[in-house]
């Protein structure tokens, strides 16, 4: 166990470095830009009220006139301490502004993640009971089909079908950003489903590939020859191994989920960080963009860390290896 702890600590340190590089990427992408960050931040309608001197003054106030490495170190320090600074024009703290949207998005993505995992695992296990059977083929074809549907099309169709035609759910989520989280949860049913339609396919492919590999393995054949029931073979013997390739893809999956949720949130007008991000991008509200991008990356890194721990729990060989090495 202490070795596992040591490994976890090692991964944490690594995650810290990864996040530092992430901060650098975000900084380079947002601040070392062609053009001037400050004037770009001020909306056109406002710009008329500032003189060049005022702009210069604000620039130095914001420290935008200092060398790039210094600014990066500051950005890095800010992000790492979750102090996201203040908006450029109004000097309002970014943290409180994005707090509720981030939580709402976390709820959306979290619920979607859980629903997707449940869906993927049950579909994958069901399909594996009879590989090549009708159910398996149907699920594979369906997921491939849904995968090919762009998430912005799926979301819109969901709104039209479930909200406008069937009236089962609201078409526009009017819940305020700081609504009680249960309200947000209730409002996220359709968005979660829309996210799942596109997202399940990717995970399902990985899980099914893992299942096929596991089911073709010698140990499953041995279990069959030893007279174990099919369901038990699928669930107890094949599934845990089959989960590993899927868990290895966690980082890309969660990143994809967050990308998708930006689109889905826009369609449903979900009060999440996606809308906040789009707005921030439009206005080049750089501290906000930095904060959201960084927090998204943090979510991915944390999810990956959890997935690694899950693999550790599922595969004793990895456990032994990490103890040795």
């Amino acid at each position: 166990m202490p070795q596992i702890l040591a490994m976890t600590v090692r991964r944490l340190v690594m995650s810290f470095f990864i996040l530092s590089i992430t901060a650098l990427i975000v900084f380079l992408g947002t601040e070392v830009l062609p053009g001037d960050a400050l004037t770009a931040t001020i909306p056109t309608e406002e710009l008329q009220f500032y003189s060049a001197d005022q702009l210069a003054e604000m620039r130095s106030e914001l420290g935008l006139d200092r060398p790039i490495p210094v600014r990066f170190l500051e950005v890095w320090a800010r992000l790492m301490t979750f102090d996201f600074g203040t908006t450029i024009v109004k000097h309002e703290p970014v943290g409180p502004r994005i707090f509720h949207p981030m939580i709402n998005s976390a709820i959306l993505a979290g619920v979607a993640l859980v629903v997707m995992l449940a869906l993927v695992i049950s579909l994958g296990t069901l399909a594996s009971l009879k590989p090549g059977g009708r159910l398996d083929t149907t699920i594979s074809a369906t997921t491939l089909f849904t995968y090919s549907m762009p998430d912005f099309v799926v979301s819109n169709l969901f709104v039209i079908v479930f909200a406008v035609w069937l009236g089962l759910a609201p078409a526009v989520i009017l819940a305020p950003t700081n609504a009680p989280k249960l309200t947000i949860l209730a409002a996220s049913i359709l968005p979660v489903l829309a996210l799942c339609v596109h997202g399940v396919a990717y995970q399902y492919r990985l899980l099914r590939a893992g299942m096929v590999e596991a089911l073709n393995s010698d140990y499953v054949e041995r279990a069959r020859l030893a007279g174990l029931p099919t369901w038990r073979i699928s669930l107890v013997h094949a599934l845990p191994s089959a989960l590993i390739p899927m868990l290895n893809g966690t980082a890309s999956f969660v990143a994809g989920l967050l990308s998708g949720s930006v689109v889905v949130e826009a369609v449903f007008k979900y009060p999440g960080a996606g809308g906040e991000l789009l707005r921030a991008l439009s206005q080049r509200e750089i501290p906000t963009i930095q904060a959201i991008a960084f927090l998204a990356a943090l979510a991915v890194v944390v999810a990956n860390l959890l997935a690694d721990l899950a693999i550790l729990a599922l595969d004793p060989r990895v456990r032994t290896r990490s103890q040795n090495g």
């Binding site: 001037d36 770009a40 056109t44 526009v172 305020p176």
Partner: protein
């Protein structure tokens, strides 16, 4: 015996006043005596308003300014959420372009047109129960000046003082005959007096609804103001407004979540009507404009090319295709809107051959490639207007890319390409009275776009004279002269003008689309059934 309605009577009175040339100098002050309501607040004949119900509306106009602030309670950030649900200004421009006293009961200028006295309505209570007095108005106006709330008053404003509990006086640094119009600007809301750093941030006004909740940048909820100064109003118990995009608005309307949508995309009118919605068009609305920078070595520094560009825009096609509104007015390349009485149409607005001839004369017989301009869409149909413009000018041999960009792209272009200050300002301009409209090329530094030269100087000089002219008839001809100067030099091109449209369900009564995006009232709307 012919019965003349009170409203009609007052209109005739107004005509009489304007015959005296003093109409704008004296605010309307007549009351419908029986109800204690100002005449402009009268309901249509035969109306039987009901009390209660809830108005939930969607608004497609994205106000980028609001995103830069956390403070959704600040009236400046309410153009999209329709300011007049919560706040009032001293003056309101009604649906027929008339000035109506809102919190001001009447006003009067001295002969120099530099000192303006406003009499305030008595007994108006703020949402917090405090009575509105001149101190509040003075504090509000001073705060607006300090916070640069409106570019249209700062240039003339000298000071404001209380001349009584219900009277204030504006002192201007130059004559301004149409000062009350300038005060009708939506931002210039009257709020309770408070410290410099607190004032305007508490969401308290004198409007028909009291703010309950603002979801910054998304929407608001408000409830009836029981102490509203228009007695017996509003009819509705609750109002909610949400900023949505065009598609979400349709979905929300069709799913029954919204019973009204402001600023609908004209092409989508059918989506509302096919769901039993009623579409209401205002007489006018915002115009889309490119003001041409002249500070760099660009092709359009030559007025012939600017004029050729203007002449080759098929504005009728825009009216027909985008607005399904053929035969309506088209822009005249000044900020003046077709609904302004002073509006002076171009003699010829669309003439490909003349455009080609002008281009040839300017040395481009085989057509010309103009530098690209970028815009960020404010109204949903704007990309389509731009597409038609870019397409139609090709016929005259003009290639110009009109690129859609988020706000930042626009700014990047401004700072990168057009140093130091010239900018092809592409965007919507709201309809206002001629004084404000014509000021935009003269005193508003962001929109004059570096218009220089003899004609620009002549324009500025004439503008100063015009707004100092007390006689309205004379002013009208001077405004037209200003338009002629601008048109002859074409520093800006009006691509097209929209008529604001809203859609509401059959149950919503008396909800009218105002030609000014922020002008709609909520105190005379009711919910049937």
């Amino acid at each position: 015996m012919t019965t003349i309605s009170k409203r009609e009577f007052l209109r005739l009175l107004g005509l009489g006043a304007s015959a005296l040339g003093m109409q704008s100098a004296f605010g309307s002050f007549a009351f419908a005596q029986e109800t204690g309501l100002p005449a402009w607040a009268a309901l249509p004949a035969g109306a039987e308003p009901k009390t209660g119900g809830k108005l939930v509306y969607g608004q497609t106009y994205p106000n980028w300014a609001v995103g830069t602030s956390d403070n959704g309670k600040h009236p400046y950030y309410w153009v999209d959420l329709l300011t007049r649900s919560i706040w009032n200004c001293l003056v309101w421009v009604d649906h027929d372009f008339n000035l109506q006293g809102e919190l001001a009961e009447s006003w009067q200028a001295d002969e120099t047109l530099k000192v303006w006295d406003f009499k305030l309505r008595e007994g108006v209570l703020f949402h917090n129960g405090k009575e509105m007095t001149s101190a509040d108005v003075v504090a509000s106006i001073n705060a607006h000046i300090a916070q640069k709330g409106s570019g249209f008053i700062n240039a003339w404003f000298e000071s404001i003082e209380a001349t009584g509990k219900y009277a204030v006086r504006f002192n201007l640094n130059a004559a301004y005959a149409e000062w009350p119009y300038a005060l009708a600007e939506y931002r210039l809301a009257i709020v309770p007096a408070a410290g410099d750093d607190v004032i305007l941030t508490d969401g308290i006004g004198t409007g028909p609804f009291k703010l309950v909740e603002v979801d910054n940048r998304r929407g608001f909820k408000a409830i009836r103001n029981e102490n509203y100064w228009l007695k017996g109003r509003p009819f509705i118990d609750e109002v909610e407004g949400y900023v949505v995009n065009s598609q979400t608005a349709i979905n929300g309307f069709r799913s029954g979540q919204f019973n009204a949508v402001f600023n609908i995309d004209p092409t989508t009118a059918g989506q509302y009507e096919s769901a039993a919605g009623i579409v209401d068009k205002a007489t006018g609305g915002d115009q889309f404009l490119i003001s041409m920078p002249k500070n760099l070595d660009m092709a359009w520094n030559d007025p012939r090319i600017r004029l050729a560009l203007s002449l080759s825009i098929d504005r009728n096609a825009i009216n027909q295709i985008v607005y399904n509104d053929p035969g309506t007015w088209i822009g005249n390349d000044t900020h003046m809107s077709g609904i302004n009485p002073e509006f002076l149409p171009r003699e010829v607005a669309y003439d490909i051959d003349k455009a080609k001839a002008l281009l040839a004369e300017a040395g481009h017989p085989n057509g010309i490639d103009l530098p690209p301009v970028v815009f960020s869409p404010s109204f949903p149909e704007m990309p389509r207007v731009m597409a038609i413009v870019a397409e139609s000018v090709k016929k005259a041999g003009i290639n110009i890319e009109i690129r859609e960009m988020p706000t930042d792209g626009f700014s990047a272009y401004v700072t990168e390409v057009n140093k130091p200050y010239g900018r092809p300002a592409v965007g919507p301009v709201g309809p206002r009275n001629p004084a404000t409209n014509m000021s935009r090329m003269a005193v508003n530094q962001s929109e004059e776009a570096g218009w220089t030269g003899e004609k620009a100087d002549a324009y500025r000089a004439l503008y100063a004279t015009t707004i100092a002219e007390p006689d309205e008839t004379k002013r009208l001809s001077m405004y037209q002269e200003l338009q002629r100067i601008a048109q002859s030099d074409t520093p800006a091109i009006i691509l097209g003008g929209r008529r604001n449209m809203l859609a509401h369900s059959a149950g919503v009564v008396n909800l009218k689309s105002h030609f000014q995006n922020w002008g709609s009232r909520f105190d005379d709307v009711w919910i049937q059934s």
